[in-house]
Amino acid sequence: MADFETPVLQKYPVIPSITIDAMKDSAPFVAKPEHQDPLGFPGELVDDWKDRAIEKMGELLGKYRSFQVYLDSCVKCGACTDKCHYFLGTTDPKNMPVARQDLLRSVYRRYFTFAGKYFPKLVGARDLTKEVLDEWYSYFHQCSQCRRCSVYCPYGIDTAEISMAAREILDSVGVGQKYCNEIIAKVHKVGNNLGLPEPALKDTLEGLEEDIEDDTGVKVRLPLDEKGADILLITPSADFFAEPHIDGLIGYAKVFHEAGVSWTLSSYASEAANFGMFIGSYENMQKVAMRIREAALDLGVKRIVHGECGHAWRVAYSFWNTLAGPFDFLDPNYPVPQHICEFTYDLIQKNKLRFDKSQNDHRVVTFHDSCNVARATRMGDKPGGQFEIPRAIIKTVCNNYVDMDPDTIKEGTYCCGGGGGLLTDDLMEIRVKGAMPRMQALNEVVEEHGVTNMAAICAICKSQFTKVLPYYKMGMDMIVSVHQLVSDALILTGQEVDDDEADEDAA
């Protein structure tokens, strides 16, 4: 399938021996001027890049206290070295989180610390050269900002923030990543990552309404731009386009229908994803988030519900209030913002949904915790709700559920390998290799418990697994949306079903 070797899955996870420079040639396509301009970045590498990069680093050190703390506090204890899926999959020592941080830390020391200014060699400080800049571009695009390493760091150093800062510095001197920046430019212009214009969105939604009616005999709506609706649904545009994402979207629509609420999508804010976070650009992240605020105000909604998108939930849950808030125009009786899983779980708790669990009996399901949901957000009102609520939903609609190895789920979950702006074909090698630890844990439950499907609540995870599962000799359709499982088991009011099939203890 490609000119690299797919890692072999072992019986037990192993910490590999290192291979120096194994991934030094991995780098994504560089953004062209037309991708850079709309984001406010120079079109190409500027002449005085070195001065500007150091100046930018200084600016970030002043702006983000955490950034400086992370650069100063590492004691090289080594706890993080075997925690990164990209290291485990590639064996390149620069993919150890500490080594990745050091790529930037060494330059920080040279220009911003006393010892580094006068005795650089003693403290591992180095000059910023073009080679260093290229190395940054390569290795900071081998980090999915999943923050698994930070869980095991005794100081809580967050490599994701260092990676975001590095990308911000690179962008500021004209070296952007094509994949992320082209997409952000599309959001600014069209309103979503795909560049899906309003007529196409409308056509797609109408097609889905037809499909649901053919399938169930019930008219379920997927409204667009309906002023006065109570709920605005913000979901990744992949939900309008890709498989299995679209089955999740059908699931949300059915749940809203059964709940009897009025809801709408927006063609102006037809995207939950916010790649501004991946490139560390506060300005771009804010601009993307503001579209959602504007759409909510314009449509006059009282609530905002998020579809299945990992990093979008982080942006909304953790950053929205200061980024695009206050959201005091929304109804405070509901979570602001609310996750679709919270919405569905709430209805389940209130016995408002009827399920026929046997519709999922051909499946044995496991759940992949998406990194941003697991380590940067919460759901519900209890700690760990982000782990328990999706699982509770799956168990309500499926009879067969198994968890993967406890070291690979919940706060210790492994990234799918395609997060943080790496979900692009030009990074296929790092994506396939970085997926290895997750594939290993999945393979274990497939062999031991006959797992047939892995459910996820993130568009990136779903697309990534669709692509990499075949490399590991597993079917691409193993990956499903959580709300696809909900959709398959949900009995709509008025839907024609055999009475025997219906779950008598409707949950």
Partner: protein, 110 residues
């Protein structure tokens, strides 16, 4: 990497997608398919032609579901599924078929 067809050179992006939509012709499509290791059959053309029609109307490639439904209507229900489309375009109907149809690559979390 520019694409050469019948002595003419066409501009493409890093991954071989046509830079200009208007450069597309059946011969160009055949050359694009060849670069993907595909041999164009009648069924391939059905998909490619539908993509182009849809793009002309909506300025974007159709969702996989829209495509499978349309192909199912044209070629029979047994072919209206993504498994069939993956048989025709093993790297994925969205990306590989778009390339042959001369459309830009779909971007985003897809």
């Amino acid at each position: 990497m520019p694409l050469e067809v019948n002595g003419k050179t066409y501009e493409t992006d890093e991954e071989g997608y046509l830079a200009n939509l208007s450069d597309w012709s059946e011969d160009v499509a055949k050359a694009l398919a060849e670069s993907e290791g595909l041999e164009m059959t009648e069924n391939h053309w059905e998909v490619v032609n539908f993509l182009r029609e849809y793009y002309q109307e909506y300025q974007i490639a159709p969702a996989v579901r829209v495509l499978t439904k349309a192909i199912g209507k044209k070629l029979g229900k047994d072919k209206g599924n993504s498994k069939y489309l993956y048989e025709l375009f093993p790297y994925g109907p969205a990306k590989q078929a778009c390339k042959v149809a001369g459309l830009p690559k779909p971007t985003g979390c897809v």
